[in-house]
Amino acid sequence: MASYIGSATSRVDGRAKVTGEAKYAGEFNVSGLVHGYVVDSPIPKGRIVRIDTSGALGVAGVIDVLTHSNRPTMADKDDAYKDEVAPEKGSPYRPLYDDRIQFTGQPVALVLAEDWETARVAASLVKIEYQKEPHVTDLQAERARAYAIDVPEKPRGDAEKAFASAAISHAAEYSIPTEHHNPMELFASTAIWENGQLTVYDKTQGVQNVQQYLCKVFKLQPNAVRVMSPYMGGGFGAGLRPQYQVVLAVLGANALKRPVRVVLTRAQMYALGYRPASIERLALGASSDGLLESMQHEAIAVTSQFEEFARNDTGWGNLLYKSPNAKFGHKLVKLDLPTSSDMRAPGAATGVYALECAMDELAIALKTDPVQLRLQCYSDRHQGEDLPYTSKQLRECYRQGAEAFGWDKRNAEPRSMRDGSELVGWGMASGVWEALQVPATVRIVLTANGHAEVATAASDIGTGTYTIMAQVAADMLGLPIDNISVKLGDSTLPQCPVEGGSWIASSVCNAIANTARAVRGDLLELAKATKDSPLAGAGVDDVALIDGKIVSKQDAGRAVPIASAMQSGKAERITREEINQPSEDKSHARNVHSAIFAEVKVDEEIGIIRVMRVVKAVAAGRILNPKTAHSQVMGGVVWGIGMALHEETLYDHRFGRVMNANIAEYHVPVNADIHDIKVIFVDEPDEMVNPLGIKGLGEIGIVGVAAAIANAVYHATGKRVRDLPITLDKVIEFV
């Protein structure tokens, strides 16, 4: 039997998704369902002075209007609101808690009605009087107030001195605007009380995170609350923390003793988390022969007034390049906005963008090919920790990516390549992310008819978790993939953290391996108990499960069918549950890497940019499923194109409001913006990172893409745009 691991397996949930059989959080219907519609604050800061709900309550079909003054009880300590991935410092936002307004779009009332349209109509009749207070929402205007926070990367040498004395240097500031996740599925929660049990269908990347949060916020016993999220229409980090609609749905259900569903509008989703706007200052100094002597990276990013969210923007250079002197810093500006949050490759998408543009500018100053500069500065050790890598095939990424792209045909001179009225530009960049693992538990129930159920509380946020788990389980149990059913997204299933950071594939698949080994041990015992067992004397690691049989690794002729072993042992089912405990070994750095090559064509007069080709070569350990992996990386590349050219949340700082809070005016790439995308997976065997050699793929897809495009735009036009997105008016000065 061929191995499922490594084969391009179609999604096992594909049919359910395209036929509509797969249900999402806002689609679970129960009789007596009440619909909630959120009234949100038009102002960013102040107090609620008065709420008049009489108009709304007068609408036929309206059951109640919940506000901070009449809501059911909730916890009154910060601790209760701190979820598994909440920032360490600060006081988490409490939905509908009191009269304070902390950001525009904050929920201030929940209208509960017999149908959604009625609730929506009534919501517009809720009259609220506010007392406004002065607010700040502009990072650039407030940057002087930025305060430093600790960064993991420690300084070494004297970076300033080395920069000042470097033969060739480059220093510049790069900026990335606020971006929002904009998953297709709207945030939604359905809360149902039944026989003293609360079931919540929620759009979340972590059912157990939400379950524990709800238990604390509403002082409920853990066994009384079940949170389900079987499918998710896009997460990207937006669903890592419990979002406010889940609290409102439970408040509604508690108040009415009826099932309540709350679905946010697209506009309301702009008051959830976001990728914080950041200003990234890079200073690189090199010797005349192109070796880095100094590397400085400081980021200034945004958080809310009430929590301190920050991700590592600045340490990435330590993973890529040798430099004897280095210094990193991170500052935060507190603004009257919701707390910023994780969004695909948090910290790296922004930090590596700036780093890799700066490396391009340094290469130009050195008159060195940008790939060559990266190879000259290439580091085989994590510079900050001075550790070797479990594996790092980045050199091979550069080589294979450059070859597939045809990089050797590049004329280094800006504006030197053209195609009719269009300037052609070729740019490249590196990408890097962490190969993370978290403790995760998987349960396998093997039944005598040769079927297995594989379960953990992870969510499949659209990445293909159901599929890769089925593949790995099929291989480990020696069963056809159709005999495997995977259960996810239910807080009552075995423990699993939120799905994020690209850690789920490695964590749950290694847990499957552990559990499957336990199942194999049980089967072996049963097999050994059969009369004249051909496996007598074998240990659990002397046998494998292949084609429905327990087979000796030494002699494939010695085998016992799983079915007979179970039958003779009168075992109807074997149930095992094992955890995958990530290795404590700190002797190696664990990372994924990539090289990105991009071609743009820019209309010389009008400045329209078209990204014609992107090659992304990725070294991410074992690729479980080339098909879903390809889709995931391609999606990251598309997002990188959007980050480079399109995405920007536009605030009017006078009002402290997002002005383009819809996907007509918040631009993400559409089909016309996307041309040829080639994804290469570089072979990277790695038995040290974890037993299955899996590193994870979710984040690496986007990292470095925007830099490659920005560098290509420079190469095409001779115009360096450091302030994303690169719109046509930044490329061409129209006079």
Binding site: P42, V59, E117, R120, V121, A123, S124, S421, E422, K601, D603, E605, I606, G607, I608, R610, L645, H646, L650, Y651, D652, R654, F655, R657, M659, N660, A664, E665, H667, P669, V670, N671, A672, D673, T727, L728, D729, E733, F734, V735
Partner: protein, 338 residues
């Protein structure tokens, strides 16, 4: 959003009667703009009169060689209608440059004319806006105004008309057929949309109790030398930063007849007779086109974020006229600017 009643009009006379009887009612056909406006609390009609079933769905040739388009012809059907594709390809291209396939399937020809203007503040009911609430002030002038107008603006409003189709209709000098209590009349497309002046709340010269029944295209279709170029912040499914519809009649290298209109830059499709005068009788070359662009953009003024649109429009005008003169109109599917 407020609750509304829903009724159907049985014929044009009934539609007029119903709307005349209820000043807070609105006609609805495709609803591609009105429903958004209702959801955003920008429009608050207490009654929707559904006109989508009225028999206004034909495209037919007129006695004088033109074409009469029923007001309810869906945008998609119009763009792909053989008569339009063959004789008015500029109109077809402009429609296909707009919105998305799904919206074009729903949107009607008459509705396209009366879609409301585009401005972030008009669509955000929490901010001051003279168009929504006359006298409350214009938030866009000192606000986020990348998408706003550079021509024909007033102190009270800098919104833009979002239509692509109307830019082509302006060039084709379409005639809007309307019917009201006083009977039928026609309005030249140039007079249909208004500039904001001090009454930005009124987008068009269509009376509240009138209904559009048809759009008439004169015989001249400029099917040889034309182009519609739409410049936007992504390559499809976005409104125009600047769009240009150009139509020429050439005698060798000499321009016999010329028409140019701009979209995305004003409260209405923007044309300037003087700009077309300097094209007529001249050589069809870049310097002639640049002269026309200068005149067309006379008086243009930016408000900060949209300053670049003046220079962008100048280049786009020259480019579109060049495409038209060469007989190589801008492709809708291939986004390379020719």
């Amino acid at each position: 959003m407020i609750p509304f009643q829903y009724t159907r009009a049985s014929d044009v006379a009934d539609a007029i009667k119903q709307i005349a009887a209820d000043p807070s009612a609105k006609f609805i056909a495709g609803g591609t703009n009105l429903l958004d406006l209702i959801k955003y609390d920008v429009a608050t009609p207490t009654r929707l009169i559904d006109i989508s079933r009225l028999p206004l769905g034909n495209v037919e040739e007129t006695a004088n060689g033109g074409v009469l388009i029923g007001a309810l012809v869906p945008n998609t059907d119009l763009a792909y209608h053989p008569l339009i594709e063959a004789r008015y390809p500029l109109l077809s291209r402009s429609i296909l440059a707009g919105a998305s396939q799904q919206l074009r399937n729903m949107a009607s020809t008459g509705g396209n004319l009366v879609q409301r203007t585009r401005c972030f503040y008009f669509y955000d009911a929490t901010t001051p806006c003279n168009k929504r609430e006359p006298g409350s002030g214009c938030s866009a002038i000192d606000g986020i105004n990348r998408i706003n107008a550079i021509l024909g603006t007033s102190q009270s409003c800098i919104a833009t008309h979002p239509s692509d189709m109307c830019v082509a209709l302006a060039v084709l000098e379409a005639i809007v057929h309307v019917t009201g209590p006083a009977g039928a009349r026609t309005i030249a497309l140039a007079d249909f949309h208004r500039l904001p002046d001090n009454t930005p709340q009124i987008d068009t010269n269509l009376e509240p109790d009138e209904i559009i029944t048809a759009i008439e295209l004169p015989a001249k279709g400029f099917s040889t030398n034309y182009s519609y170029l739409k410049i936007r912040d992504r390559l499809s499914y976005a409104f125009a930063l600047v769009s240009v519809a150009a139509a020429l009649e050439l005698d060798g290298d000499t321009i016999k007849e010329a028409r140019v209109a701009l979209g995305g830059v004003a409260h209405k499709p923007w044309r300037s007779p003087a700009a077309e005068v300097v094209l007529r009788g001249q050589r069809a070359d870049a310097s002639t086109f640049a002269n026309a662009a200068d005149i067309l953009l006379r008086g243009a003024r930016g408000f900060g974020h949209n300053d670049f649109k003046i220079g962008l429009a100048r280049r786009a005008i020259v480019r579109t006229l060049s495409q038209a003169a060469r007989g190589t109109p801008q492709s809708i599917s291939d986004k390379k600017i020719r």
